[in-house]
Every structure is written in C-alpha cells, then in structure tokens.
C-alpha cells in the first residue's frame, strides 16, 4: 500500500483573465494531516474545489490509490470518499442535528419514509467519535458556532469519508473551540482519515501538520515533511520574501495626553436577534495619545461588546466614557463618531461594506455633513487616503467587492479615518486577510499611531495582539483580568490570563503558538 492516497498531477485551471492553477502537483498522504498554505488568491481553494468536484480542472489528472479517476461533481467526490468542510458553515439552522447530518441522503424505510430512529442512532455514533454529546433532536440554531462545525464534521464522518478537506476551519472559532477541533482532527487522523488542512494561522499549522505544501500564484513553491518546516520556511515561501512582521516602535511617552477614559463601564447581557450578548462588568481603561491598546480574550469575554458600547451601539447600564476630558453621552453611532470614537467592525461583509457601491462611495459613505456634498473635495480626500493606506485600486469607481480582503479592510479603515477620529477602534483588525496584507495593515496602524492617533483593538489571535499592541488588557467573562505591558507580552501570559479557570488553561496548553 503506497503512502499516497490521492495524487493530483499537473492541474491547470483557467479563469477569465487569470490562470488560477499553473500545473500543480499535490499529494494527499495516507493518515496524515496534509497542510496547504498560501496567501489569498494563491489557488488553495480552487485546488480544493477541483478535488471535491465543485469545479473541473482544464488539464491534469487525479489518481486515487494510483488509479486515474474523474471527479465531475460533488456526488462523485463523495463516492470516492472525499468530503470538504467549507470556510462558511453549511448547516441549516432550522433543522435538527440528525436532519442536518443526513440532509440530502436520508435513510429510508422501504424507500419512502424517513427512518428517523436509525438516523438518530447513527448521528449519535458519529458525534460520539467527535466526543460531542449533543441532543440530536435539537435545532442546530440553538448551538454555538463551534458546535455547529462539529455537526458538519459529524456529517462527513457519518458518510465514511477517507479524505477530509478543512478549509480555514478555525476562522470563526474561539481559542477554546479551536483547541477542541484540533483534538478531533488528531483523532480522525488516528482512525484512518487523511486530512487536508488549510489555514492562515501558522501556529495551528505547525502544531497539527504532518506534511506541508506551499502554493504561490498557482504554483507549488515548497513541499516538505513537518520535520523540515519552520515558521520562517513557510513565510518565506508564501510571500516570496523574508519579512519581519513587525517593526519596532518608540514607546509612548508617559506624559502623553490621556484621550480616552472609561470608568466602571457595565453592560447588561442582552438577547438580540443574533443570540445573547455577553455582559461586561465594571471595566476601567484609559488610552493615551498615540498609544495602541489591545484587548485580548476568548469568545464571549465581552471584548466586542465593550468596543460596541464605546462606538455607540449599546446602551450603558452604568459607567462613564470621557474623550479628551469631555463626557460622551451619546448612544448612537453618529454621536460617538462626533465625539471621536469610530469602529471598524469584525465582519467586513456583513457589517462593513456596501457591495453595490463603488470604492469611493464606500470610503465617503458618511463623511459629509449638510444636505449636498462637494464632489471635488470628497474625491481629493478619498484619493489622499487611498494613497496613505496603499489601497491598490486605480479606478475608484469599481465596485468595492472587486478588491481583495486586505484592500477591503483598508477601505473600511479609510471610511473611519474620513471622520477624523480621536480613537480608532478595530474589532479583529486582520480577519480573513492574507499574511502579506496583514503585515501591511500592522505597519499602517503603527504609522497612524506614531502620528498621534490612538488605537484600541481586540483580537482573538495571540500573535496579532503581541505584535501590534503597546499594552494589553486581558478580558475574561466580562471583566478586565490583567493589564500587561509590552515587555510582559508572551503567548503563555496571554493564554493563561484569558482562560476562565485552571482546567481550561490546562486544556489549551497543548497548543503551542
């Protein structure tokens, strides 16, 4: 039996105006975690779509166990035992767990009636393999994002997949949820499932991966087993340049003016249409001119809620917000913005961009006051921001969706900067942005800070928090637990402080950063 379960040879995929894959050779090794890395647009997802039958290659052959196969549809891929879990979850929230697991291939009695009890038994078994103890009759909408992902994983297991493709599975998960996903991946591997793992998070890959393949602009530029792989090896091949992700920055002088002062900020837990919001208790913080303050915490720690309260999106139950010594009373976004507090939201597509509007209109969305705006003045302002933030677009009238993730994020940054903020707030500043653009955004933020803008950001990525912040507040269960200065910032310190209890801290310890 050969080590290679699936081999793709010379895969070429043409898109209008673009060659997505230029003759890629890719092997999936048996019982291994096969890591695929590359910047956005390198061709990772295209390759996976070809292997899972969503798209077809223009050239090239695919061999499974050394025999050539045709994968012309997702159904044929499933028949070969290939399952893919997409970046976006594809569970149906208003069906129950079993119904989701068997959606599309229901078990039937005499081909007519659904055999629910048999289905329930099998889903239970699949979930047990994942160490998930769920009520299979409950609607998926009642479970958290991480659990929904487990349901999707259970779906692939229940159908006996040999190859499981995970496309950025942790992008929406908290550290604890991700840790339990890693355990599941290890177990699946041990039980004879070969895994293809795609992620931007290098520490995850280094922890999980057995065999590494790096793609750049549609070509394989590196391939090696784990033993030969280091962080530098990956980054160098991915971006084609060795780059120190962070530049040092002069410390903020102690006598710098305090621009933001938050005292005893408390938010009641609220149940909105998108599920319950975490409460925030008694948070105090202050931010000096030109300082970058990070807020680190797990999912549900209240980080996002805190920023939303400062941005005027939430009603304070108690507490006081002061900007430059003046109390901010406003409970509206425009009021907070007038006081100098603006927020770049976490979910760009859902909360940030207006897809039908052009790049220019997205940047200038709310900049002008008064009933009529001056096109000339607006255009000058937008152009100078596009230059400053290095947004790569010659034609500002193109729809904003034409841009890559990193450039879209910069568009939202520009929109906030149009309002001349005192404090720029960012919720997950580089979510879904490739490594190259990440470094660029860090550079831009640091540059803005040294020009006197104060920045407050939250992140669930330890590395990002460490690289970007001058000082970090660690939140846990709605409270600020620890304040860490720049020199105290280590991965271990951040992890430990963010975990709700000792047991949890120990569980996560297995994940090196």
């Amino acid at each position: 039996m050969s080590d290679v379960l699936l081999e793709a040879r010379g895969i070429v995929r043409l898109y209008p105006g673009n060659i997505a894959l230029k003759g890629v050779d890719f092997c999936i090794y048996r019982d291994k975690v096969n890591v695929l890395i590359g910047e956005n647009g390198a061709g990772k997802s295209t390759l996976m779509r070809i292997l899972s039958g969503v798209e077809r290659a223009d050239e090239g052959t695919i061999l499974v166990e050394s025999k050539p196969v045709q994968i012309r549809s997702p159904r044929e891929a499933t028949a070969l035992g290939i399952a893919i879990m997409h970046q976006e979850l594809s569970v149906v929230p208003n069906l129950d767990v079993t119904e989701n697991i068997f959606a599309g291939r229901e078990l039937t009695k005499s081909g007519l009636l659904i055999d629910k009890s048999n289905e329930d038994r099998q889903s239970q078994r699949a979930l047990e393999r994942l160490q998930q103890h769920l009520d299979v009759d409950r609607h998926v909408s009642q479970y958290s994002l991480g659990t929904r992902q487990m349901v999707e994983l259970a779906r692939t297991i229940a159908h006996g997949s040999r190859i499981l493709i995970l496309d950025e599975p942790t992008s929406a998960l908290s550290t604890a949820e991700a840790a339990s996903l890693f355990r599941v991946v290890e177990e699946l591997k041990a039980s004879g499932v070969s895994i293809v793992y795609i992620s931007h998070r290098l520490h995850e890959l280094l922890h999980l991966g057995d065999h590494f393949t790096v793609l750049r602009s549609g070509r394989v530029v590196g391939e090696a087993p784990r033993a030969q792989v280091t962080r530098e090896w990956i980054v160098e091949r991915m971006s084609g340049r060795t780059e120190e992700l962070t530049s040092m920055r002069a410390a903020v002088p102690d006598d710098a003016e305090t621009v933001l002062e938050v005292r005893n900020l408390t938010l009641a837990p609220s149940v909105g249409d998108e599920g319950a919001q975490a409460p925030v208790h008694d948070v105090n913080l202050s931010l000096r001119c030109g300082e970058i303050l990070g807020i680190y915490g797990l999912l549900g720690a209240g980080r996002t809620e805190l920023l939303e309260a400062l941005a005027g999106l939430r009603k304070l139950e108690d507490g006081r917000i002061q900007v430059r010594g003046k109390r901010v009373h406003s409970e509206s976004v425009s009021g907070a913005a007038r006081a100098g507090l603006v927020l770049v939201p976490e979910d760009r597509q859902r909360d940030g961009l207006i897809p039908d509007l052009s790049i220019r209109e997205n940047i200038a969305l709310v900049s002008s006051s008064g009933p009529v705006y001056s096109r000339q003045k607006e255009l000058e302002r937008v152009r100078s921001l596009v230059r400053d933030l290095q947004i790569r677009a010659n034609d500002l009238e193109l729809p904003v969706v034409a841009l890559s993730g990193g450039n879209q994020q910069k568009v939202l940054l520009a929109r906030c900067l149009m309002r001349d903020p005192v404090v720029l707030m960012l919720d997950e500043p580089t979510r879904g942005v490739d490594v190259g653009a990440k470094a660029e955004i860090y550079g831009i933020l640091k540059d803005l800070a040294s020009r006197g803008l104060s920045i407050l950001f939250t992140s669930s990525e330890i590395e990002e928090t460490r690289l970007l912040a001058d000082r970090v507040l660690v939140m846990c269960q709605g409270r600020v637990r620890v304040e860490l200065q720049k020199e105290e910032l280590t991965d271990e310190a951040l992890f430990a402080a963010a975990s709700p209890d000792v047991a949890c801290a120990q569980r996560i310890e297995g994940v090196p950063a």
Binding site: G17, I19, L357, V372, L398
Partner: protein, 347 residues
C-alpha cells in the same frame, strides 16, 4: 507556456465582446424605448404626431411620478403598495375641500398632500418601529387608505370641481410652452429626485441602506430616518398624482388609482432597479415608465386587442427582470477583467 498564450487571446476576445454586451445591457431601457418609437412610427402614421405624443406623455406622467417614490422605497429594499390608494384618497380630500370648503385651491392641495404624508408616516412607522415587512405594511395601508376615501365620500364622486376652482383645473389640463403641466411636473420631480439620488448624502444613504442595512447602521447612518423619508417621498408623489387626476377629470372619485402601484413597480423594474435593494437609478424608472406607455399607446394605434396588450406587458416585465439578472452575472464575470486592466489592483 502554451496555455497562457491561448488564454490571453481567448481572453481579449471574450473581454472586449463582453464589455460591449455590458454597455448595451446597461443602456437597454433607452435602446428599447428608441426601437419602440421607431417601430411604431414606421408602422402607423398616427403615432409620431405632436398631439399623440402629448397625450402619451400626459398618460405616462402619472405612473412615472409614482415610480419616483417607488424607486426610493425599492432602493432601500422596501416597496410601497399603497400609492394607488393614497392617490385616490388625496384626490378625494382635494375634492372635498374644494366642494365643501371656502378656502381655495391652495388649501385643497395642501390638505391632499398633508393627508398623504400622514399615510406615508404611518407606513414608515409600521416598517421602522413596529417591524412589519414593507410589503405587508403597505398592503394594509392600501386598504386603509381606500377605505378612508370611500368613507369620507360615502362612495360618491365630487363632481364639477372646475366650476368652483378655475385654478385647480389648470394643474391637470393646462400647459406651459405647449408642454402639459403634468409632464412639466414629472420632469421637475425627476430632476430633483435624480439630484438627490446621485449628489446628496441622503441619496447615498438610501443606496447604502438597501445594499447592506447592518453595515449602514454601523457606519452611523440613521437607517430608520432614511426609510421613513422614502415612504414620505412616495406618499408625496402619490398625492400629486391624485391631485392631477382629479384636476384632469374635473372630479374626485374614491376608486381613482386602483392598481396604479403595479404600473409604478413595473416601471421601476423595467428601469433596472433591483427589488432586493441597493441597485438602480431614478432615470431608469422614467425610461421604464415610457417603455410601458409607448408600448400601450402603440399597440392601441395598431389596433391590437386589449387582451393581447395585457399579455405583452406581462411578458415585457418578466423579460426585463431576466435580462437584468443576466447583466448582473455578466458583470460579476467581468470583474477580473476590469481589475486586470489596472495591473496594480487585486494584489
């Protein structure tokens, strides 16, 4: 690599022909309108005469004016089904004031507009505060406004309005430099609306709310205010239409404006505005209204049966939406080309 060369050649061809196709698609309402006018002019000498065109545009003006407010509501991902009823109610209010009051034309017009705005405000309130879906909210006010019109007139007509107010008759029947006043009003309103849509923050906010409401709210746009304004605008347009009809007919009838909302929606859709909000234009709706008007008028001139006219109108609307979807897909496919034309982009 051979694949690269083949690709670039194939690309260039595909790209340029797709661009031309896209350009034609974007201007399709205008192209269709011109073709219709040419065709009818060729087929019957009665069509392209000053007299017929004046009558035609006077007709079109009614649904075109309704289509302005309708475009705004649809751009925010809403809809206003109540416009026909509101037009009827406004006409009745104007008729009532002129018949029973002693206050003149201006008071009648103001009263008609005020009552319409109350309905518009109610629409806005139901949608923004009570959270009723726009389709349902305005369906409700459609019946409420019609009921109010019937109740306040006891189902009767207010006749002979011109005998009580000469000025009132001018609105529907007069003309300015040989252009009928309703047509003048239509052009004026379109100029104002197009300016609002493309050159004011309010206009941009309307597109933003329809494109991505959550993002608009988070960016600090007062979404509720924007929506209420669109329903007020729609009710205002409906009031003008009600007044114009009452003036044209020299009588206010409580059943005026029945099913007018459908013509207005058809015009908006033909003009390329998407029912899912965020995409479309004011001028498109004007062209859409004229396409419908010219088609109806031309078919009458050719002596085609009314039954056929109805069926043809339906087919045209469905075709318009299908073509619109085609354009959206083509545009999405063209995006890589557009980006490639500036090599720095898309990194």
């Amino acid at each position: 690599m051979a694949a690269t060369q083949i690709l670039t050649q194939r690309d260039r061809l595909a790209s340029s022909s797709a661009r031309v196709a896209l350009l034609l698609l974007r201007g399709r309402a205008l192209i269709v309108l011109v073709l219709l006018v040419l065709a009818f002019s060729a087929l019957t000498p009665l069509f392209f005469t000053a007299n017929n065109l004046a009558i035609l545009s006077k007709h079109v003006a009614l649904s075109a004016i309704l289509a302005i407010g309708m475009t705004f509501t649809i751009l925010t991902e809403g809809i206003d089904l109540s416009v026909g009823s509101v037009a009827g109610l406004s006409g009745i209010v104007a008729g009532y004031v002129i018949t029973n009051g002693h206050r003149g034309t201006v008071a009648a017009i103001f009263a008609a507009i005020a009552v319409a705005l109350v309905v518009g405000l109610l629409n806005g309130f139901l949608i923004v505060r009570a959270g009723v879906a726009p389709f349902i909210a305005t369906l409700g006010t459609l019946y409420m406004a019609r009921g109010a019109a019937l109740l306040s007139s006891s189902g009767r007509t207010f006749p002979n309005l011109a005998s009580k107010s000469k000025a009132f008759a001018v609105i529907g029947q007069g003309s300015l430099l040989h252009v009928p006043i309703p047509v003048c009003l239509m052009l004026l309103l379109y100029a104002v609306a197009a300016f609002i849509a493309s050159r004011t923050p309010l206009g941009r906010h309307i597109y933003a709310v329809g494109g991505n409401e959550r993002a608009a709210r988070l960016a600090g746009i007062e979404v509720s205010r924007v929506k209420v304004i669109t329903y007020l605008a729609s009710a205002f347009c409906a009031a003008l239409v009600g007044i114009i009809i009452a003036s044209q007919l020299d009588a206010a009838h409580p059943a005026t404006g029945e099913s007018f909302e459908l013509n207005a929606i058809a015009a908006v859709v033909l003009g390329g505005t998407s029912l899912s909000g965020g995409r479309g234009s004011i001028t498109g709706s004007l062209l859409g209204a004229f396409v419908i008007g010219v088609l109806a008028d031309g078919l009458v001139m050719l002596g085609i049966s009314e039954f056929w006219q109805i069926a043809i109108k339906g087919a045209v609307i469905v075709a318009a939406v299908a073509i619109d979807q085609f354009q959206v897909r083509l545009q999405a496919r063209l995006l890589p080309f557009l980006l490639r034309s500036n090599p720095e982009a898309g990194a």
